[in-house]
Symmetry: C2
Subunit: 187 residues, 2 copies
């Protein structure tokens, strides 16, 4: 749990009691490479913290698999469009490497919000930061060329390119595998 507490502290420091309460709704999960952690069609009721490994959220558009995002060590991952609406998700979470996770039951977590405003605040801040990332992603996709987006990824998140198959990276960048390969070929 230490990694998780350290992660929490970046957003909001919790009291001993709050940490204890959260600990009780967490459980460790190990997932093998390429296995789905959460499958399409189910409502998201778990927030995962990644201790080790890489996750991606993906879905299908016209039978083509699209990667929505990646998450690495010391980050959380959840299908927020389902978590916050209670609707079934059209998306799945898959582990790209053998991974160790901590599963946080979101139903129980949301109950804790009533007793621990500090926990509500913690997750408010976590998701506000994620929201900002998503706003920036809209800008990146919409107004930068595929090549610009690739170069930004290379510069700011090169571990994606080192640890994730390019076929996943391509749809994340909003282009085809062939286009990505062409862009990489230049220079």
């Amino acid at each position: 749990m230490n990694e998780l507490i350290t992660y929490f502290n970046k957003y909001n420091t919790l009291s001993e009691n709050a940490i204890k309460a959260i600990s009780e709704i967490c459980k460790p999960v190990n997932i093998k490479k390429n296995q789905d952690l959460q499958s399409i069609g189910h409502t998201c009721r778990t927030i995962y913290f990644i201790k080790k490994g890489v996750a991606r959220i993906y879905y299908f558009k016209d039978d083509i698999e699209i990667t929505e995002c990646f998450a690495f060590e010391n980050a959380i991952i959840a299908r927020v469009e389902s978590l916050f609406t209670g609707k079934p998700s059209r998306k799945a979470i898959q582990m790209v490497e053998n991974s160790e996770l901590i599963a946080i039951n979101s139903t129980k977590l949301f109950d804790l919000y009533d007793t621990f405003p500090e926990i509500e605040r913690l997750f408010r801040k976590i998701f506000e930061a994620a929201y900002v990332d998503t706003v920036n992603r809209v800008e990146s996709i919409q107004f930068h060329s595929a090549e610009e987006r690739y170069n930004t990824l290379l510069k700011e998140n090169s571990n994606v390119l080192q640890r994730v198959p390019l076929k996943y990276v391509a749809s994340y960048l909003g282009i085809t595998q062939v286009s990505l390969s062409r862009i990489r070929g230049i220079r």
Copy 2:
């Protein structure tokens, strides 16, 4: 203030005291058509509720003006990438029509969170919903053609097309004015 309270109730019903406290940090603002409500370069410390009118957030990319989003009556608008980070915003908010707004001081609002967890919860839920919208927008921009995006807008938000100049709509859709005109010409 009635419209605002009605809007709040959709997310979280507030006690009398909480409503009173929020009311004290709100003030009415009237803005003429085409005028900027907030300008580029300043840190966002105000959340606006739109009683009447249309707002858009815009910024410049390579000297070209880009519309990030629109907001209409009974919605809030804020430059969250600045609001949640405290960094100056590269974006501006402009009113597309003569408008009546309620300005909520965000510094004071965040202070209220300490005394009123219900207010913190209210805005947590408001921004969670906005976050979900943004996640869906990423999907829309990234994996639908310009024509699909235009048709979706026409179907689900046709007031945008009725009330907003097409030159703003084009960059919102991630295309040029000329492309939008071409797409509209088909059929």
